[in-house]
Symmetry: C2
Subunit: 355 residues, 2 copies
């Protein structure tokens, strides 16, 4: 394996070791390690191990409950609201997805919302959980800090509020859409900063509407929604579904997770599981998805376009190549994690055994 | 009332008279008239009475079943699939929304998909139906003709596949998002053509990527998705949820509703109803929505911006003013409807009594 590549199990164990050191029970630490390493595995590198230092900062500041008692505060046959008791968001949403899957088996579909959750990593991870059980998964979340304004406004009242939708296929890769409702995501900006690259114009503007391209100078910058007022509308609605509906933070009550590490974020998310078996023959559905994928991919291309991609297909290919060759991490990130390991007295990533 | 304004009841009755003449049972004709007139009432003028001539053309060509037997082909506590038996789409989706509302009262949420439906007018009409019952309504549809291509492709394999989300408020207008996943909708292009206006650049391109601005020269033109590849992903996913999931048309199986008036379209739609009562106190939720609306509206504005709008707020104000002053129709449209009335031996719009 190359010097800047690690195996999934190595990365998972490294994160779990860090989380145990930070005070998480070993079972929970392994769950968080698994989900964070999976983020890197699927190429969602803005939501993987790169977040470890900021999670650690929050845990040390008392901003995370390490011994939470999650409970369902509302429940009907097809829905529930899960109070995460300020646990790591990964644990809250893994639990929420499991409840949604169980309920969907009975009702055909089920919706589970969260309150007092926290940042949980890439949206698609949770949408994929129902997908692995022959369901369509849909995930909504309120982002961890407000980076954008209502359309025409200057006050930071909205986040990048992402949507993920995961659809299983038979022989083709699954269709997995994972998108922020802004042109970019804060995760991607962090990766640009990490790599020392500049941001393209159209990602962010300042109060005068001038583009910001330095990923280190994003203070006060306003991220732009996709499709102008339409993206603003989507942001707001995703926030209502994931936040307001669950009495979780939304709008001005969203704390800035990049500045305030001690306060409860009261993050809200929601997951919808749609059981394919309730709608008809599962294999027939999957074959229809296969056909749709091939139709899109095999159509006539615009000049200079080499390949038409399906949502999630590039991530799927990355996952396959990373499983085979190891997960590639930027040398700057590895150096940062080495420092982290030393400061926390755990084995470095490269010293962590791969199994 | 001005010469180019009509009352809601007048417009509804005019459409109902036309539909009765075309062979719809009177009850169904009134339901269709109500929904189509409501489209104009809320300013969705691309989906209202402007569509009457094309609906008539489809009915006469045998493309609509005037005496359908709709039935639930799949059903569980929280979901159903409704076979519309090729009825007018308005009738199918009104029925679907009613079923979703009833099921959501028991399960907390419910999803009803349709197959063998038809074009049903503005997405928000159906999302608003649960909203009127203290629920959040979400609606997805496969558009009536493919007007766009996968990102990077040239084959017309996708439609404008709209999303609508309707959220009730307490003292503020409800939040109602109704958006095509393309930069524009075919309805808006029809209105531009009707009014003799040109389209802005960014709505549609030709095979070489050059902008098309003449709304009469859209043949072969490719509508652009919002946010580039993200809008493409949304289009595809809305199509999977509204079409593929219900074994309705999607991708290459979508017939061109503007060219083929005789074939069954097998249009698919889906409605999701989320019962607020299951999630907590309904009034408290609505007050949170009120607060969110005010926060957005009352924030600092960009230079030259007069007002920050909430999704659906302009439509809400139009509805109020049209209820008070009558629905304004373009003179070209009134002339076209006069011709239609004469050809079908029904009273003209202005001769139709208002009650």
């Amino acid at each position: 394996m190359h010097a800047n590549r690690v195996s999934f199990s190595q990365l998972k164990q490294f994160i779990a070791n860090a989380m145990i050191k930070l005070g998480l029970p070993p079972d929970d630490a392994l769950k968080v390690g698994h989900i964070m390493a999976e983020a890197d595995l699927q190429g969602s590198d803005g939501h993987g191990v790169i977040r470890l230092p900021s999670y650690a900062k929050r845990i040390k500041a008392g901003g995370i409950n390490l011994k939470p008692s999650m409970k369902l505060v509302k429940e009907k046959a097809g829905m529930a609201v899960l109070d995460g008791d300020n646990a790591m968001g990964h644990l809250v949403m893994k639990h929420a997805a499991e409840i949604a899957i169980e309920k969907a088996k009975n009702c055909g579909i089920a919706w589970v919302g969260s309150r007092f959750s926290n940042h949980a990593g890439p949206a698609s991870i949770y949408a994929r959980m129902p997908m692995e059980k022959n369901m369509i998964g849909i995930y909504f979340a309120v982002g961890g800090a407000n980076h954008t304004s209502p359309w025409g406004g200057l006050d930071m009242l909205l986040s990048t509020n992402p949507i993920a939708i995961a659809v299983p296929a038979k022989n083709e890769p699954p269709m997995v859409l994972d998108m922020a409702t802004t042109v970019t995501s804060y995760g991607k900006i962090k990766v640009k900063a990490q790599k020392g690259e500049s941001m393209p114009e159209g990602w962010m503007i300042d109060e005068n509407g001038a583009p910001i391209t330095d990923p280190h100078k994003t203070d006060g910058g306003i991220m732009l929604p996709i499709g102008g007022y339409k993206g603003y509308g989507l942001q707001l609605m995703v926030g209502v579904l994931a936040g307001t509906l669950n009495a979780a933070a939304m709008g001005s009550s969203v704390i800035d997770g990049n500045a305030d590490f001690a306060s409860k974020s009261n993050t809200g998310q929601a997951i919808l599981a749609i059981d394919l078996d309730a709608f008809g023959d599962v294999d027939e559905f999957k074959l229809r998805v296969d056909q749709l994928s091939r139709e899109m991919r095999e159509g006539k291309k615009m000049p200079n376009v080499k390949r038409i991609w399906l949502p999630g297909e590039q991530s799927y290919e990355k996952r396959k190549s990373y499983e085979r060759d190891g997960i590639e991490l930027h040398p700057n990130l590895i150096a940062q994690l080495d420092e982290f390991a030393q400061a926390h007295q755990i084995p470095t990533l490269m010293q962590t055994p791969s199994f």
